[in-house]
Structure formats: structure tokens, C-alpha cells
Amino acid sequence: MKNHSILKYFFGLLLSLTFIISTTAQAADTIKIGIAGSHSGDLASYGLPTVRAAQLVVRNINAKGGVNGKRVELVIEDDACKPELATNVATKLVSARVHAVIGHICSGSTKAALRTYKDAKIIVISPSATNPELTMSGQYPNFFRTIAPDDTQARLATNFAMQTLKFTRFAIIHDKGDYGKGFAEYAYKFIKSSGKGQVVLYEGITPGAVDYSAIVQKIKYAKADAVIYGGYHPEAASIVQQMRRKGMKTAFISDDGVKDQTFIKVAGAYAEGVYASGPKDTTRNPLAVAAIAEHRKGYGSEPGAFYLNAYAAVQAVLNAMNKARSTDYNAVAKALRTYQTDTPLGKIKFNKQGDAVGAGFSIYQVRKGAYVELK
């Protein structure tokens, strides 16, 4: 009996405390950032590093006086990477009036939750959802991410070819494998939808064939400005070599299956000038080194998956609120797309679709027998 009443008091206390906290929170006018992801279950290891990254960034920011003079507060919710839980989490965060959400972790739950956030006009930045559709579909203008989607390489390569190199006629060749063909299909789609380029040839080749002279002739007669090749280095080396021997100056742009020293070794002098995309090197970024050291100091362990992406996501959204001088949806979204943020992933901002520009992959070019990252 006695125990029972203590429990009652305890719960009563707890309930009233929550009321106190929420009212004080409202009163103090904080910036609330929702952290949604898998914090329990099989995929907890994907979600927890994001929580820690957010806590570290927010602690640093608050120590410096917060954003726009307001303290930043985290609201952490667990969706266990389950789409059905994710919608509940989204509803909860919306009713908690968060200003932005970092998450969700898995592409499936992110997609499930996005509609709710979109209706409530809340910005969502995922550190880990790579499904291309999330940004590509254009359905979610409130969605951003700091990880490269599965189609990044193709997007990077085609944008580079069309905008930087100003090419308009493309021959897209692939090796019929999952990786190479996937790259080629996205490249085809991007060039078609951009309206700025024309795909004059789209074909698969047989890996390991005796020679590729016929396809090289086709490229030549299609009068392509550039070949976009999806596949690995042995066939790429052959095609480049046969093109150059025929005196063709057609540019050759490929993926990170070709960004390999073996390619240069085999193609020799013919490799010169070839473009290939490859993952950006973050290990030498001092901010990344510092962020990892911070995690070690704070939690006594190595950071887990997507830690740097989450770190960058929180920094980016807070920086955008700072630049926009408000937490208004339109202003922050615009700021995310306009201003660069210095993060462990490098200087990033977001494109129209919401993908991070400046994170993930870079274009490299063979210069004097080595791949050089183009800035």
C-alpha cells in the first residue's frame, strides 16, 4: 500500500516535470532539432552515431552562445528503421514543434516519414539514406542529405561533362554488369532530362572481347564529344587506346571502377586526360580528424557508421539557420542551398534536389601518369 502511493507520487512528479520542461522550453524559445533514426534493434549501430554526432555539435554550438542567440535542443526519437514506426516518429516530432529533423537513417523509413514532415514544412536532413528517388523524384523539397545517393557518380560525371566541359553529344557505353550498367543508366537519364545534352550512342560491350574496334568506330561516326563509360578498367583501357590510336580526341569519362592505378599502367600514355569519378578523400580534412577525436574523448570509442555525415548534417542545418537569421522553413531551405558550410566532409551546400554538393565523390583526371582530384 505504502509502495503503491510512492509510485503514484513518483509518476505524478514525473508527469508534472514533463509539463514544466515543455513549458520552460517553450518559454525559453529554443531551437529544437529532432533526431530520428534506429536507436534500438538490429540496426541501432547505424542510428546511434548520429545521436552522438548531434549531441557533440549542439554542445559546441551552445557553448558558443547557440544559434541566433537561442539554445539548441535535441528531441531524440527511435524508429528502429521500420517504416511504420517512422510515420509515428514523424507525427511525434511534428507535434513537438521541432524546427528541423536530422534523419531518418534508413531509406525506407525516411521515405515513409517524409510526407508528414513535408505537410508540416519541416526540413529533414538524412546522414545515410542513399536511395536516389528521395531527392530525384522532386516530391520532397524539404529533404536534404549529406550522403551521396546511389546515383551520385553518374550525376557528377554528367554534370561535369555538360557544365564544366560544355559537351553536348555523348556516347554512353557500359560493360553490361550491374555496376557499369547502373552507372550508364543513370547517366543516360540525367543527360536526357537535363535537355542540354544528347545521347548519340547507348550500348553495352562484351567484357574480355578480343578487340573493341567496331564500337570505337561507332563512337567516331556518332560524332560524340565524350564517351561516358560504366564499367571497370580493363575494357576502358582498351577502348581509350583504340580511340586514341584512331586519332580521336573524344573525351573519356568514367566511374571509380576506372579510377585505379592499374588503368594508367595498362593504358600508359593513352590514359592521359581521362576523367573518372572517385570517392572524396576526407582523411586529410582537419575537421574530420577533429570530429573523430572529439567522439573518442566524449564517448571513449571510435565513431560508428555515418558519424561524419551526421556531424555535417547538424552543422549544415544550424549554419543555415544562422545565415537565414530565422528558423522559417523557406528561409532555411534557401540558405541550405545558398551557403556553404565547413564540415568534416568538406565545404558542402545543397543542390535543388537536396543532395550535398561537395560531398561524396570528386572528378579526377589523369595528368602525367596519376589521377589528380579536380577542384
Binding site: 574480355g208 578480343v210 568506330q217 561507332k218 583501357a237 582498351s238 587506346q241 593504358a267
Partner: protein, 300 residues
């Protein structure tokens, strides 16, 4: 220069290489009724030998066509030795065995040689020097054809003419034809059948080695696995032309090379192999003995 001509040249070039290798298949089949699956590997070994020889020769300060010729001679000698040894080790002890046994032995030899080269050399692709590009052509020809294509087509043509002459007019050629027609009868007439078989392997291997050097130099890269793809295509060419028939192998190689080239050029490279093998199936349906093959009755 137009698209058709370029495709035609590419097809002839590729077809010449197929034909050179196919000759090895067809000659061995003509005499032993054996499909020498290790033949593609001999071609690959020829390419590797030439690569090693060319690097050493270049280091010695030689340049141009002398490197090409010397490397080719070394490759021919080395590959012939391999071809000879393969026959002695893998096929000769099985001469009286059922026909399936040497076939399995051939497949085993092929796998052995591939892995041997992979372990002894490397599993990576290696760059092959542009030996053929150093050849200078008169301007009138250079306008129409690249030096490497020219060299491949001409070398293949010269070799095939030589082979035909050897088979037609020399004593050894006569003996080879006799063994192909009827081994036992040839033996009764005093022909040393084993020696003829060895020579057949040596000639076939030499042709494959030259093919290896030419194509290696043309495409600029080799690895231990190139013998497989080339071997399959050359074997297809041999069957297409009529296995056992020497002009058939030449014709089969050219037809296959041209088909692939035109299929890629006018349809799509996605269908390169589809067209090549559809052609094979069609020819085998309407002319089961191949383009130039003689129909043979099954011996009872």
C-alpha cells in the same frame, strides 16, 4: 573513309586473328579428331613471351621493327615448344584411349596453363607495347588503314598462303594430308605418324603465337585469361568453316570477324555474340559440315 569501310577493316583484322588461331584447331582436328582446348592458352603464352622478350630487347636498346620481329620469333619458338610438350604430355599417352579422354585431358591442360601463367606472371592486366605502330606505311596506304590493322591483315594473309603452299607442295605437307585422310594407311606406307602429329602441333602453335603477338600489340593489353575468349571464338570460326578444313578455318575466321564487326556497327554491340552464334547455328542447321567442310560418314 566511311563507316562501312572502317567496320569492314575492323572485322577483317579481327577475323584474321581468329583465322590464325582457328588453323591450329582445325589442323589438329583433321589429324587426331581431337579438339585441342589448350590451343587458346598457347596463343596466350605466345603473347606473354613476346611481351617479356620485347621488354628485354627494348632495354637492350633495340627499337622499331627489329623488336617486333625478334619478339615474334622468340614467341613462336617458345609457343611451339609448349604446343609440342602439351601433345607429348597430355595427348600422346591417350592415343588409343576413348575419344572423350583426350578431350578431358585438353581441358585440364588449358586450366593448368592458365593458372600456371597467372601464378608465374600476374593476374593483372599488363600493358603490351605498340610494336605494330612503329611500322611506317606509305601515305597512300596509311590514309586507308592503320598500321596495326595493315600489319595484322598482311601477316595473316602471308602466313596462310605459306601454310597452303607447304601443305600442297612439300613432302611434309603431303604426309600431313595423308595422315589426316587415313592414319593407319599412312602408317602402313611408312609415314612416321607421331612425328607428323608433333609437327602439326608445332605449326599450329606457331600460328597461334603470331596471332597472340599481333593482337596483343593491336589492343595493347594482355592477361592470363585472354586465351579463353580468343580460343572460343577461333573454335567457333573453325566449326563455322568446317572443322578439319584449312581453307574453311580461314574463311570461318573472316566471316565471324566481319559478322561481329557489322553486328556491332549496324545493330548494337549488345548483340555482338548473339549474331556471331546465331550465324553459327544457322550454318550448322543448313550445312552441318560447315562452310567448306567435307561431310564424313560416321565410322562403324
Amino acid at each position: 573513309m566511311n563507316f562501312f569501310w572502317d567496320l569492314f577493316l575492323g572485322g577483317i583484322t579481327r577475323g584474321s586473328i581468329y583465322a590464325l588461331i582457328a588453323l591450329g584447331y582445325t589442323m589438329v582436328y583433321g589429324i587426331l579428331e581431337l579438339i585441342n582446348f589448350a590451343h587458346g592458352e598457347i596463343y596466350m603464352i605466345g603473347a606473354f613471351t613476346a611481351l617479356i622478350a620485347a621488354s628485354i630487347l627494348t632495354m637492350q636498346g633495340l627499337t622499331g621493327i627489329s623488336v617486333l620481329l625478334l619478339a615474334m620469333v622468340i614467341a613462336v619458338l617458345y609457343s611451339s615448344a609448349y604446343g609440342y610438350s602439351v601433345e607429348k604430355i597430355a595427348y600422346k599417352p591417350l592415343r588409343q584411349a576413348p575419344r572423350l579422354s583426350p578431350l578431358i585431358s585438353a581441358i585440364g591442360m588449358s586450366i593448368f596453363l592458365q593458372n600456371y601463367v597467372m601464378l608465374a606472371q600476374t593476374s593483372d592486366f599488363l600493358p603490351f607495347p605498340d610494336l605494330l605502330m612503329d611500322v611506317e606505311l606509305p601515305e597512300a596506304i596509311a590514309e586507308w588503314i592503320a598500321p596495326s590493322e595493315f600489319m595484322i591483315v598482311v601477316s595473316a594473309a602471308v602466313l596462310m598462303i605459306c601454310l597452303t603452299l607447304v601443305l600442297k607442295f612439300t613432302k611434309m605437307g603431303k604426309a600431313m594430308r595423308a595422315v589426316a585422310q587415313d592414319r593407319e594407311m599412312a602408317m602402313l606406307l611408312g609415314i612416321n605418324v607421331n612425328r607428323i602429329i608433333s609437327r602439326t602441333f608445332i605449326i599450329g602453335s606457331a600460328l597461334a603465337a603470331i596471332g597472340g603477338v599481333l593482337i596483343g600489340s593491336h589492343v595493347g593489353r594482355i592477361n592470363f585469361y585472354i586465351g579463353f575468349a580468343a580460343g572460343i571464338k577461333a573454335f567457333t570460326a573453325a566449326v563455322l568453316g568446317g572443322i578439319g578444313s584449312i581453307p574453311g578455318a580461314m574463311l570461318g575466321g573472316l566471316v565471324l570477324g566481319l559478322t561481329e564487326s557489322f553486328a556491332t556497327g549496324y545493330v548494337s554491340s549488345d548483340y555482338e555474340n548473339v549474331f556471331a552464334f546465331a550465324l553459327l547455328v544457322l550454318i550448322l542447321i543448313f550445312k552441318p559440315e560447315g562452310l567448306l567442310g567435307r561431310s564424313s560418314q560416321q565410322k562403324v
